[in-house]
Symmetry: D2
Subunit: 396 residues, 4 copies
């Protein structure tokens, strides 16, 4: 039964359309919604809307659901619409009237905001951990093969000499900037919407929002209830932007590795057990992992724009459009985490082809060096540049 | 077993990452891949690569798979990677050596292109049918309530009088343009890639591509095998653009209906059994269907841009990135078809509030008419305009 | 003076903000707006709103403006807001009262729609011509160097042998599909909005819309005036999609040429007079043209997304948001035309490095051929595949 | 003369295509490039590549250019390509050989990175100031009219009572979050790329990067030279994301005001001197400013997408594609600053229609309150909810 049903049956096709796959997506929010519900019950106890024993019953029930959910046994049905309803229905069924009281002084609107923010805080920590791991993997690769000299490219043309350490180090530094952005996102996420209800606060009852915020370890309170609603999608788009940044770093690394592992470049070799083959060409050894990581940047990018596009041109207050910001967020988080893991695995096994790297350091790469040697002798740079260019041309 | 496995075990995590959810997505291609495989087998028979009885065996096996697939009993496993492998494995398991021969003179590359184009032709017909149904629904609504006069808006401000027939008719005409684009897309799709193999044709064997194209009812042949690969994603993005256009038409209709059904506008009433409620506010009757249709335009839009972004900056020939263009296509097709269905259902039950429409036809809406009356009497338009403006100002 | 001014001065900053750079953008519409205005005047003459001599005066004035505009001497000022106002003001200033009559029975809304569609028809012809030229350039290149054999790539790895003719031919075929889409767009554009006024038609006066449509050589009439407004932006987005498709073809060609002209691949050489250098590295010869063409695909893509995003979630009838769809359209057209021209110029001078192409045809490229030779001898394909794979492995 | 010209004339059309409008865009970087060049010259003096008097000459020349630029008299020509070349050419022309020395130990690559980051730091301060002003404007509006009660909406349907203070306050809080993101962006921007040259550092000469970083007031150094290149576009996309967030806040405010100022809602009145009219309808008073602000969100969004799309799938090191990230950044900054200014101006003059707000507080808005009153009496919430819903239905 839906939380808002009051006698008029909703068309079946409307139900299917409006619920969509929300009941499946919500599985990952169950745990966080229960945690928030426990804090909410305690608060209702504190302000005497619930008795101590009611609070205890609810806490027990909600912990049961958390346990069931962790073992994959708490399934939200299509009829339930979402995790909030499934949870309330479970409580009512098992514990009677107390279940009907849990929704006092809150709305699904602030409930989902709270569950989402708790989930987001959790996932931000996960992503940060994986980024740090990726940095370590790069560090190990640098330790092992960093001193090898290789050509640096601009415009995909050989430019100047560099080293494997500098090349791989650039990704470490990019990830360091990405971490900084993830931290900035965390600060935005870390504010409690619980108690803003449907965006207009809770009348009549005197709830204690500081209490729930503290229980849930939020750093602060979102005071303005309309702002809590305004942040929906907006906040997610900032989260997704920081994921796009991580994926952009991986996109460049994957692009480099794909190019450098072609027969023609041969600067690196990919681990054979991480390549796939062709159904028709017996000789093929394809860098599918790298290609997919490269492509998945665009997936995360498009999901970010989906959210940023959905939430525009909408007036204040909750609009159902916002429901569709959930899946893009989940997709982006999953994609980024998987990509970080697989790239870390792959980079661990990449082999630098030292002799090919050395062979590629052809004379023209040192043209800038030659020019600077002339500068040291007092030739103005622009003239030294032209002299070297001329001499290279003649030697061809 | 994968089609390309040759002794080196692929890392489990790599398998999971590269296959992704492709094995699930491919379920909807099974039928089309079998149809194409039957045509391919017949052709192999025609050029004496297969015997008549081998062709018959394969046809039998493939028809079995089609039947299993239709009843939901042909499941592609993760280990199979995709529908092509699952089908070849089924045939080899059940019919022995002949299964190992089916892949002669083709690659998974032209196979998936063929299956996709057959699927796309099928879905284009479905979408066209649903668009026509939506046009009919609008026609019925116009027949019933079209003569009601209502304000026309520009800048969301009352502008000039119009009728329900003109308002709803504009969506019919938009859908007519959308149909034209769907037809143009169909023409692009209707060309056979079968026999282009991995993008470089089939050496040694003299295959008959005209034969398979005809068997599969393609209007023509894609002759250049590299172009067959180049079309991947590119073609899908054109398909998706035509779906975006349909969704844009629905987005505007949904936006109008949401606005016109507010308490403040009250020009139309939505069917109660197609509205949903709030978990906290007992009085609410929300136009969720319309809001979701509105938002789903952005989903389809973002999926289109996902594909258009994935396929860029890639050199010629198949790149694994292209695998990720499949899901966006499917999502767009499903979303558009569902949205057309639900909007048709809803529009059938929308009620025009005739008396409110009439009440809204306030005097200022006739200002242009007044100006033209002066024009008829010989006043230059720009002067008539200023006179009417002045008179309206005084009457305020 | 603005067409709608009636005594209340608009804030200067508001004027600057709302006009934006529209007065500059509109320069390219002047000619088309005049052509449409001549047709409109003639029609007003036909229905006796204007006298014959008034029509003659207006036609004279409008032709003056066309001539001035062609020689760059008709400048729209910021105060005029747009071309429509500049034109009306010119006529009123020079020819008196008759200028005040030209706006009878039309609105800037249908005026801009008409001017845009005339402009779009013109530019579609231009783009088509340039696409055909590009196809010819490719044809010449194929004639000259098409028979050279080169490696075909999948996953950026050497796959199977192909020829320059097949490789370059794939772009010809892609452009053929692009032409088809441009034609489909032309059909959508080729309908007259003139006479739909502000989206609600023209009251009181009996205008002859068929007459103006015929004068302007439109294939048909947009009958529903609200649909004329609904098409704004929607139509442009379809135009832009077809441009994106052309740019996608060029993006892939540019990507190939950039890769194939690296020192490592060296399959092609770029004309020296079309490369640029580095300010620091004297030896550099950079393929900037190709890199910019590659990047400009994303420009056109983003402009398309801009339009598709601006026009969503807006209710029926003109909304000022639509003004911002003009610049993206112009940018896309200019970018595509310039890119086609420069790529045609460049491809004419690309040199295939025949000996490098041949050297790159290493043995593994013929693995599929070897497998098919075994198939011809009766070995089932999948077994032949495994035998060849094994033999390649041993020979390494 | 171009910095890299060495005897081979570049095709004129290639020059036009590659330079594009870069020479115009670069006008705004002249000042920042000169500031960086002064620091660079001083450093070259410090390490004895330049004499004291050469440094003095360069400083004099560069300050001249800054002064010329500020008064609009330093024009970059198409032949110069960009600001870096125009500046070097000016110095060489006026001060002879010393001009040819300024480019020692740097590349245009690190030059543009440095100029851009200095420019970005400057603009971030501007945007922050304008955001703070907007917050103040909202604060004043709240002080004046904040106590007025008005309906809060969800799903565009009347939901619960709220106040003007809460409604407008939500935008203040959104802007506070936006400021936080702008600060995070500032931290990312605030690192010196000067001395990373073309992405591979400076050989032979022992430059002092800490010195220039300190001179230019950068908080830290980008140590890895390849990372300096990797940050191009990536950093800008983060800047643009933070601008998109600001515009999103304005988009919602504009959407609310457009809706609330319709005849039907009439909760607010817009200042007449900030509205525009229609060319055909004498009565119209259109909220063009709001519509354009709403639309400009999509402009900024698409420009962000443009940059994020351009920079993907590119290998390490500078690629000319990156040149095209400059214009989107400038467009986004200009658009955001202009939109903040105009919205601040407009909000100052918005009038709340107190009596209409009160009239709109119809009984159903208090349904939640009624339910909570029952809860206070001990009725479980879900039952209270159903009782109130029933009672509302009966009273209809």
């Amino acid at each position: 039964m839906k939380l808002w049903e009051k006698g008029i049956a909703v068309d079946k096709e409307v139900e299917a359309f409006t619920v969509g796959n929300d009941y499946l997506l919500d599985q990952r929010l169950v745990e966080f919604d229960c945690i928030a519900s426990i804090a909410h019950s305690k608060m209702l106890g504190k302000i005497n809307v619930l008795t101590k024993s009611e609070v205890a019953q609810l806490e027990k029930g909600l912990n049961e659901i958390i346990a069931l959910s962790k073992s994959g046994k708490f399934q939200i049905s299509k009829q339930d619409e979402d995790c909030h309803t499934a949870i309330e229905n479970y409580l009512t069924e098992k514990y009677g009237d107390v279940g009907k009281k849990i929704h006092t002084a809150r709305s699904r609107n602030d409930q989902v905001l709270t569950a989402l923010r708790l989930y987001e805080k959790h996932e931000l920590q996960q992503v940060k951990k994986l980024v740090a791991e990726m940095q370590n993997t790069l560090q190990t690769a640098i330790k092992n093969q960093g001193s090898v000299k290789m050509p640096g490219y601009t415009h995909m043309q050989r430019a100047m000499p560099t080293t494997v350490a500098t090349w791989l180090g650039s990704f470490q530094d990019a990830l360091a900037d990405d971490l900084q952005l993830l931290d900035a996102t965390f600060t935005l996420v870390d504010a409690s919407p619980l108690g803003t209800a449907a965006g207009f606060g809770v009348p009549v009852l005197e709830i204690d929002r500081e209490f729930t915020a503290k229980e849930l370890k939020f750093a602060k309170l979102i005071k303005n209830p309309i702002y809590a609603q305004l942040s929906r999608g907006k906040l997610e788009s900032s989260f997704m932007h920081s994921l796009t940044q991580v994926m952009l770093t991986l996109n460049k690394l994957a692009t480099d590795l794909t190019l450098f592992s072609t027969t023609e470049f041969s600067l690196v070799s990919l681990p054979e057990n991480m390549c796939t083959g062709s159904s028709i060409m017996p000789q093929k050894k394809n860098p599918d992992v790298l290609e997919l990581v490269r492509a998945k940047y665009h997936v995360v990018l498009a999901e970010e724009f989906k959210v940023k596009s959905i939430i525009a041109n909408l007036p204040s207050g909750y609009n159902r459009d916002l429901q569709l910001t959930k899946e893009p967020l989940f997709t982006s988080i999953d994609t980024t985490e998987q990509s970080l893991k697989i790239m870390s695995l792959l980079v661990k096994q990449v082999k630098i082809n030292e002799s090919n790297c050395t062979k590629s350091l052809t004379r023209e790469l040192f043209a800038t060096e030659e020019a600077y040697k002339l500068v040291k002798k007092g030739v103005p740079f622009r003239e030294a540049y032209r002299q070297v260019a001329q001499s290279l041309k003649e030697k061809k």
